[in-house]
């Protein structure tokens, strides 16, 4: 054993460069892997974790303001809740901040803690006086409201001003950019002045000792209904709903992260395997000598495995804690992006898992070639002096020769594939690296695309929201009187009841050239007249209808004969949600008092959007909310972009290290061949060209495989995202990559690979022929 240790450590000292390459690669990989694992651990069920930490409510029920609050006190016992909070008094409050108007559900609550629905203060403090308010962080982020901002309350006659003093994370409500009205909090003494008579209601938070099922929640709701006067319950949100909505936005991110982590680990394993094989091959003759002096096969294996394990273990011991620390800011922004409160989490178990995983992969990668080393027959090894070499890549050389490529290039191509297993492992790393970059690029763009799509970016310049107090005719006149106004599409919300669908279906009614809004159809066509309707995939599925089918809907009791002419690509309705889109004329008959809630204005080209928005807003400051069309909360998107591109970048880096390593191993093993070629008149430049070709070729091949693979993988992930909304992805949505980009990605890859290969190439070009050839 002593001999094994001595030999292993002496070898390590001698093969310092190899040890460094192993160390750096492992450090990168273990780091990436740990970051990925940490993210997975956190994103796998971040909602549940936060829900437990903040003692989230399983059920939040709104009761009519006329209910006796004393009667509500008995409700938790009636449904067997283990804890409860409330009744809180609450009201819908409209306020204005920085020219924009918002509506939030304002709740009277004196402290953020308690047994149920704890609020995490992420900025500022809890309100302490009656002119202070706390907002949810996702709302504040989305609408760019900061601590210290002053909000003008519009929903009560006596205008009052509230100062934002706190930003909190509330686990029991939906994130602002996902939808739903957001919560705000004031102290109880401030509440009375913020509500009008009859506009306030009570909110109760219930929590159970174990997570109830959907049916149990329904039963609890029924019990509650029975215990209060009829129609007293005005609304409810279950944790299941909140969780489902939350998961839509995280699922895709989690999926991508898991995929990326697996990629990173696979790329690492491939490169480590290459490294070990390289060491074994370069030590081929030594193995023979070792065996001749009495090392057993097991001891030979031991020497090689140790040589790899020492640098990898060192890298892991440094890399894993470092990565855990480094992943914290990422986790923090990820939490923020997910609308959760961030708590630094250092899981020793996770670290140990990463360490064990890294060592296991490395040991397996090291064992395979080491076993080969252990089995070698000493006489053969000593006699041959160098490892046997393959002849593969012959067809490639032939092909290249026929193409009349320069000889150094042809030889480089042969070198690249001379060791098929090494070439394949390198290729694997390259393919993973490039594919990850493609997917990361694609996904980040897709998220932006979806937001742009939902916001009609590029089709609509300005969105005008109208207060019911302002007449449609006046608004239309005002908008049309602006010289820049090009096209106006008015939009109204309605609910249509359809047979087979339990809840009323959200319906968007358009007046004007609605086709110009750019809604994408996955099949069929856009509606072109009365009675025609487009629906989302979820609706068709649940109503068992197909394009071309007719059905009867009802609105305000009036029957409406509708024919489905197309399927629209839609995210707004969410998973299992339904949406219909139709023309104004179709609905106007059944709903006489149909009025638009917003107007989507497209300006004539070359118009100044800001000036337009300012002028229009000034025309009706209280009754119109005029905003330039925007993509909403893009902070969330940039976090995703950073995470995805960051990991992709790391994997790409590992791939580059892989190419460098392979080229280094190849040139070292082929030192004698290079020296021979130099005696035959190969110039230093030709040597560098030869080596660079071997690296560049692997990158090119990898790129040619990885780009289509990456695009395909991206599509699969995108399809999953679409499927969450019950959609099939319209083909045009796949085109987030420009052709030149898909060409440029492998070209850049090849360029980087060539640059990396040039370093060992230069070493090879400097080969001292005399030393190499006469050292035999």
């Amino acid at each position: 054993m002593t001999a094994v240790l001595v030999k292993a450590f002496r070898d390590l000292r001698r093969r310092r460069l190899q040890a460094v390459v192993v160390f750096v690669t492992t450090l990168l990989a273990v780091g990436t892997g740990t970051i990925a694992l940490t993210l997975i651990a956190q994103t796998s069920d971040p909602y549940q974790t936060a829900f437990e930490a903040q003692k989230g409510a399983h059920l939040v029920v709104d009761f009519d303001g006329k209910v006796d609050p004393g009667a509500l006190a008995g409700t938790p016992a009636a449904i067997g809740a283990s804890a409860f909070a409330g009744p809180y008094r609450a009201t819908d409050m409209q306020f204005q901040s920085g020219g924009h108007k918002y509506t939030v559900t304002t709740i009277a609550r004196d402290n953020p803690g308690g047994d149920v629905g704890q609020l995490r203060i992420t900025g500022g403090r809890w309100p302490s006086s009656s002119n202070e308010i706390a907002l949810t962080r996702s709302f504040a982020d989305l609408n760019h409201v900061s601590l210290g901002d002053r909000l003008r309350v519009l929903s009560v006659p006596q205008a009052s001003i509230l100062t934002v003093v706190g930003v909190v994370v509330d686990i029991d409500e939906l994130r602002a950019d996902v939808g739903g009205q957001q919560h705000a909090w004031v102290i109880e003494s401030a509440f009375a002045s913020l509500t009008t008579k009859g506009a306030s209601f009570y909110q109760m938070d219930y929590r159970f000792s174990s997570d109830p099922t959907s049916a149990q929640l329904q039963a609890h709701l029924d019990t509650l209904r029975a215990s209060v006067p009829p129609d007293s319950i005005t609304g409810s949100i279950s944790y299941i709903f909140a969780r489902t909505v939350f998961h839509i936005s995280t699922e895709i991110l989690t999926g991508v992260l898991v995929a990326f982590s697996v990629f990173a680990l696979a790329a690492t394993a491939a490169i480590v395997a290459n490294l070990v094989t390289g060491i074994v091959i370069s030590a081929y003759r030594e193995i023979g000598i070792m065996k001749a002096v009495g090392f057993t096969p097991t001891q030979v294996i031991g020497v090689f495995v140790l040589q790899i394990l020492v640098p990898t273990a060192t890298a892991s011991v440094i890399g894993i804690p470092a990565a855990m620390v480094l992943s914290q800011p990422l986790l923090a922004s990820n939490s923020q992006a997910l609308g959760l409160a961030y708590q630094p989490t250092y899981s020793p178990l996770l670290g140990l898992l990463a360490l064990a995983g890294a060592l296991l992969i490395v040991t397996i990668a090291a064992l395979l070639p080491a076993f080969r080393a252990g089995r070698l027959k000493p006489a053969i090894v000593i006699a041959n002096a160098a490892a046997p070499r393959g002849h593969s890549g012959r067809w490639l050389r032939r092909l290249a020769s026929q193409a009349r490529l320069p000889r150094s290039v042809v030889l480089g191509l042969g070198d690249a594939t001379a060791r098929p297993v090494r070439a394949l492992l390198t290729l694997l790393a390259v393919v993973l690296g490039v594919a990850t970059v493609v997917v990361a690029l694609g996904e980040t763009r897709t998220f932006n695309e979806i937001y742009s799509y939902e916001g009609h970016i590029g089709k609509v310049d300005v969105v005008v929201a109208k207060s019911p107090a302002l007449a449609d005719a006046d608004t239309t006149k005002l908008i049309n009187s602006q010289p820049e106004t090009g096209r106006v599409v008015a939009q109204a919300f309605a609910n249509i009841t359809a047979h087979g669908i339990a809840d009323p279906v959200n319906t968007l009614t358009f007046r004007g050239d609605s086709a110009s809004l750019g809604y994408l159809l996955t099949s069929g066509r856009w509606f072109s007249g009365p009675g025609e309707v487009v629906a989302n995939g979820g609706f068709l599925q649940d109503a068992h209808l197909n394009v071309g089918d007719s059905f009867t809907g009802s609105v305000n009791g009036a029957a409406l004969k509708l024919r489905i002419v197309g399927v629209v690509y839609d995210f707004t309705s969410g998973p299992g949600g339904h949406i219909l889109m139709l023309d104004w004329t179709t609905l106007a008959a059944g709903v006489p008092d149909l009025f638009p809630s917003s107007y989507m204005v497209t300006l004539k080209s070359g118009s100044n959007v800001d000036a337009y928005v300012r002028r229009l807003a000034a025309a009706q400051p209280d009754l119109l909310d005029v905003q330039a069309a925007s993509t909403g909360n893009t902070a969330f998107l940039s976090v995703i972009a950073v995470v995805l591109l960051g990991i992709a970048g790391l994997i790409a880096l590992i791939a580059i290290a892989g190419i460098f390593n392979t080229v280094l191993l190849n040139t070292r093993e082929r030192l004698r061949d290079t020296a021979t070629l130099k005696t035959l008149g190969m110039s230093p430049r030709q040597v560098i060209a030869m080596v660079a070709t071997s690296g560049g070729f692997l990158a090119l091949l990898g790129g040619l495989i990885a780009v289509p693979a990456g695009v395909a993988l991206y599509r699969v992930l995108f399809d999953q995202l679409s499927a969450l909304g019950g959609n099939t992805t319209p083909p045009s949505f796949y085109d987030v990559f420009a052709t030149w980009e898909l060409i440029a990605i492998p070209i850049v890859g090849v360029a980087v690979a060539i640059a990396a290969a040039t370093i060992p190439g230069r070493w090879a070009a400097r080969t001292n022929v005399v030393e190499v050839l006469h050292a035999e």
């Binding site: 030889l411 042969g414 070629l677 005399v770």
Partner: protein
């Protein structure tokens, strides 16, 4: 006959473990000569060959080949020089293991950008190794490998063929055949510089034997080649006849 190679006051100092230093060597080789550089291992004979091939640079002194002062050429220039003027044959053949015999032979031409499969086939035929053209070196006998190496050295019609112990890794019979081949090439006008420690081989075809010892030329013998009768060369003699 014109002068092809000239070493003037060449010294070569090595640091470290490499033997074969040269100490003030001056010598010239004529075009068309078959000269042997002979000496024990470490005497500097291979160093001389490497300097002539431009594989190494002298510590001082000049090496001129075909009128070109090799000291004036850069790395790329030396590579081009080797490509155009030098054919090199080694003791251990040094064929590229992942190329076939024919591909090996073609390399020097291809490095020049020439495509000369015809010439390669001609050489294969001349060296009687036509049947191994598409085989890989590992499948060839030592003699075949060396023939391939010689063909490779000849593909660019080098001005100078350098052979460093070309029979060192071959059995006597095969070695004789390889030497016969070199003699044949010489008879066709090829200038050859042969490095060997074997006097039998050196004198076989070379009419000139340059003896090197401890980095110096200790003898430069030009041998005659008259057709001598056996009795002029060998005398077998028993004991005197007793009466």
């Amino acid at each position: 006959m014109s002068e092809l190679v000239r070493l003037t006051e060449v010294t070569k100092v090595y640091q470290g473990g490499i033997t074969g230093a040269l100490n003030g060597v001056s010598v010239a080789v004529e075009k068309g000569e078959f000269a042997a550089i002979m000496g024990p291992s470490g005497s500097g004979k291979s160093t001389m060959l490497n300097l002539v091939a431009g594989l190494d640079r002298p510590s001082s002194g000049t090496v001129t080949v075909g009128g070109t002062d090799l000291g004036k050429l850069g790395e790329a220039g030396l590579a081009r020089f080797r490509r155009d003027h030098i054919g090199f044959v080694f003791q251990f053949f040094y064929l590229l293991p992942n190329l076939t015999a024919l591909e090996n032979i073609l390399i020097p031409a291809q490095l020049k950008g020439n495509v000369v499969p015809g010439r390669a086939r001609e050489l294969l035929e001349q060296l009687a190794i036509k049947e191994v053209a598409d085989r890989y070196p590992a499948l060839l006998s030592g003699g075949q490998q060396q023939r391939v190496a010689i063909a490779r050295a000849l593909i660019n019609n080098p001005t100078l063929l350098l052979a460093d112990e070309p029979t060192g890794a071959l059995d006597t019979h095969t070695g004789d055949q390889v030497m016969e081949l070199l003699g044949e090439l010489h008879r066709h006008g090829q200038t050859i510089l042969l490095v060997t420690h074997d006097a039998k081989l050196a004198t076989r075809h070379a009419a000139r034997v340059i003896s090197v010892m401890d980095g110096k030329i200790v003898d430069d013998a030009r041998l005659e080649s008259p057709d001598r009768t056996a009795s002029e060369v060998i005398r077998v003699r028993g004991e005197e006849v007793s009466r």
